[in-house]
């Protein structure tokens, strides 16, 4: 009898509108803290939760409540998605559903990517997470397929090829559901790809539109490619999920570096590489764009999170889009029009002197001009950027951005550019990093004012740069993690470390916080990987690989 009742209850709850989340649920993500439905914990990608049960006064009582192995040694970068008590996580090999309260595995579906795929992956074999909508779980695969799984069983419902991986295309991006359209990006700007966004029908997998991010013969901006054919291998990948403003019905995606890095074969500004683009989800139309780095020769991807907020600009409240760009400038744009409101350096940089606020263009330094002319250039920031992808958080109450930033240079020099060959690296620049000595400052954890780009506080990071996103909470806390495995909480007012726990491997992922029956939890994935975890493997040789999910709560007593 008990079984019958339980079955009836399941049917009832799933027949109702509660089982499948709606577009309204997605818009309101962040308002019901039991769920985390979007990349960035809300379409605005603030990575801020007002939850305050876990706070400065009790953080020392935070303990692990469960962990789940992910059977993957390639690295974990994903943000978990939580819906109705079920947590969905992904990596390059698996999509996994877990009971959020106990960590018990509900289903696990394998990704069958060809074992040769990693040769077209620049920066770590990984996956940034899934999207959920209307009873389905969506993800991308390393060999550039977009897949829909049944949310209850993990069974594959449809699978569509986005691009040909042997031509250098790959996917690690978490999909975005905006205005009923499933939107995915692409990786591969080091392999001579032509970047794009795709729109799909989430129900059927039907391809709705493609918006190439290098302007072709029929696109506005085609004359920014000289010779005109160079757009074909022009890069401008879209490997970090865009944010979305449902009122304006605009998505904000960043685009990657122009390809190849060596500009010999592509004179001109090269639209829409190294830009922020505002895109209509139904059509893929680019409504406005802001190019941060015209004729990029630095690998200045502009793909980092575009954080949406309403802030005061010269005493006037403005709806803005903010980005701490790889190139070292913090851009604040009017998100309705694309008007540039501020562009101040947040890190050490020597490739440009400033951004001309009249033209919106960076003014390149003498050093940068010499680099263009063929001389070696010790460049600040390094090719990894003043900030890499690890996403910043924004607390609307303090008005501050909280970020893990980089503090290093690298020496770049133009090389002879080998002719384009499909599926091989197409770069033509040599990049060397200086030796990092024990104790060297390699980055900062900092709280930054968006309009001045100056830190309210900053804490030096030594030895290994941080490659984990930031989470800010109403409890006055920041959560992030280190390559060496520590998951930590800081006082958001001072940057002081209040708590840390060594997880089983390196942390280079995205923490989230959520509630179940009124109790607050914090979850993060552990599993050394990604760009830095892969490149710095020798320095990190004593950090074991192996992925797992970690969920923490305050100890009851």
């Amino acid at each position: 009898m008990k079984t019958v009742i339980a079955v009836a209850a399941v049917i009832l709850s799933c027949a109702g509108a509660v089982c499948a989340q709606t577009l309204d649920d997605l818009k309101n993500d962040g308002k019901n803290p039991d769920n985390i439905l979007t990349y960035g914990m809300g379409y605005a990608q603030n990575r801020y939760s007002p939850l305050a049960q876990i706070n400065k006064s009790n953080i020392k009582k935070l303990v692990p409540v469960w962990t789940a192995g992910l059977e993957n040694e390639l690295g974990e970068q994903a943000q978990p998605i939580i819906h109705n008590g079920v947590m969905y996580v992904s990596n390059a090999r698996w999509t996994v559903a877990l009971d959020a309260l106990s960590g018990r595995q509900l289903w696990r579906t394998a990704v069958d990517f060809p074992p040769e795929t990693p040769r077209v992956v620049c920066c770590g074999v990984s996956n940034k997470g899934v999207a959920v909508y209307n009873g389905k779980v969506f993800r991308t695969t390393l060999h550039a397929y977009v897949v829909a799984l049944d949310q209850k069983t993990g069974k594959e419902l449809w699978k569509q090829k986005a691009a040909e991986w042997t031509e250098g295309y790959s996917q690690t991006v978490a999909p975005l559901i905006a205005n009923g359209v499933l939107v995915t990006g692409i990786s591969g700007a080091e392999f001579g790809i032509r970047g794009f966004l795709d729109g799909w029908d989430p129900e059927t997998g039907k391809h709705l539109w493609r918006r190439y991010t290098t302007a072709g013969p029929d696109d506005k901006g085609h004359d920014t490619w000289e010779p005109r054919t160079s757009y074909v291998n022009g890069g401008a990948s879209t490997w970090i999920t865009g944010s979305y403003d449902p009122q304006l019905d605009l998505m904000y995606w960043g685009t990657g570096n122009a390809g190849p890095w060596n500009p010999r074969v592509r004179k001109g500004d090269n639209l829409y590489a190294a830009s922020i683009i505002a895109v209509r989800p139904k059509t893929g139309e680019i409504v406005w764009h802001y190019q941060a780095t015209p004729n990029d020769i630095y690998d200045w991807d502009a793909v980092w999170e575009v954080i949406l907020a309403d802030i005061n600009v010269n005493g006037v409240p403005r709806k803005v889009a903010m980005q701490m760009n790889r190139n070292g400038f913090l851009y604040v744009l009017d998100r309705a029009t694309g008007e540039l409101l501020s562009a101040k350096p947040f890190g050490e940089l020597n490739w440009a002197t400033h951004v001309d606020m009249k033209t919106g263009r960076p003014v390149e330094s003498e050093g940068a001009k010499k680099y263009r002319a063929g001389e070696p250039f010790p460049m600040w920031p390094s090719v990894r950027g003043a900030k890499n992808w690890p996403h910043a958080a924004f607390n609307p109450n303090t008005g501050l951005l909280y970020a893990n930033t980089n503090h290093s240079y690298s020496t770049v020099r133009m090389l002879e550019l080998a002719p384009y060959k499909a599926g091989t690296r197409y770069v033509g620049v040599e990049n060397t990093y200086p030796t990092v000595n024990r104790g060297d400052i390699v980055g900062h954890i900092e709280a930054i004012d968006p309009m001045t780009a100056t830190p309210k506080w900053r804490i030096p990071v030594r030895d290994y740069q941080i490659a984990s996103a930031m989470l800010a909470t109403g409890g006055g806390l920041l959560f992030s993690g280190k390559h060496t495995g520590e998951f930590f909480a800081l006082d958001a007012d001072t940057g002081q470390t209040l708590w840390e726990f060594r997880t089983s491997s390196g942390v280079n992922a995205m923490p989230v916080t959520w509630t179940h029956k009124g109790k607050q939890y914090v979850t993060v994935l552990s599993g050394l990987g990604g760009l830095y975890g892969t490149r710095a493997r020798e320095a990190l040789k004593d950090v074991p690989v192996g992925g797992s999910v970690w969920t923490f709560a305050l100890q009851d007593n």
């Binding site: 962990t67 089983s504 599993g527 950090v543 074991p544 192996g546």
Partner: protein, 124 residues
């Protein structure tokens, strides 16, 4: 200066008889030997797997929580009993032998076992 002192301390420790455990240490394991160490299979030659420690007890076991974790990077299964000596934990599986700092969980070293990939066919 601090570094030099550290080096001297290490040298002193290496030369003292404490550094290498003796047959006597092994015999005393689980029988009045230091509870800081676990030196034998079964926690004592008698394999009683019994420890007199009672700091963790019935009244407070609900407050027992993980303090660190470390990945063993093996998909084959873990059956090993850890040994602990002088603040270092030694763990083994089919693929690796690993030394871990007991206080922090930090891996100190890891040595792969290079067994012939065909071996599993003679493993029941």
């Amino acid at each position: 200066m601090k570094k030099i002192l550290g080096a001297i301390a290490l040298l002193a420790a290496a030369q003292s008889p404490l550094y290498a455990q003796s047959l006597q240490d092994l015999a005393r394991d689980g029988k009045g030997g230091s509870t800081d160490n676990v030196l034998t299979y079964g926690m004592g030659y008698h394999q009683q797997r019994y420890s007199t420690l009672k700091q963790v007890n019935k009244s407070n076991v609900k407050r027992l929580v993980p303090v660190w974790s470390t990945s063993l990077s093996s998909n084959y299964g873990e059956q090993g009993q850890p040994l602990v000596y002088d603040g270092i934990m030694f763990v083994a599986n089919a693929e690796h032998t690993i030394a871990i700092d007991v206080a922090t969980g930090k891996q100190l070293w890891r040595t792969p076992v290079e067994f012939d990939p065909a071996t599993p066919r003679v493993v029941c």
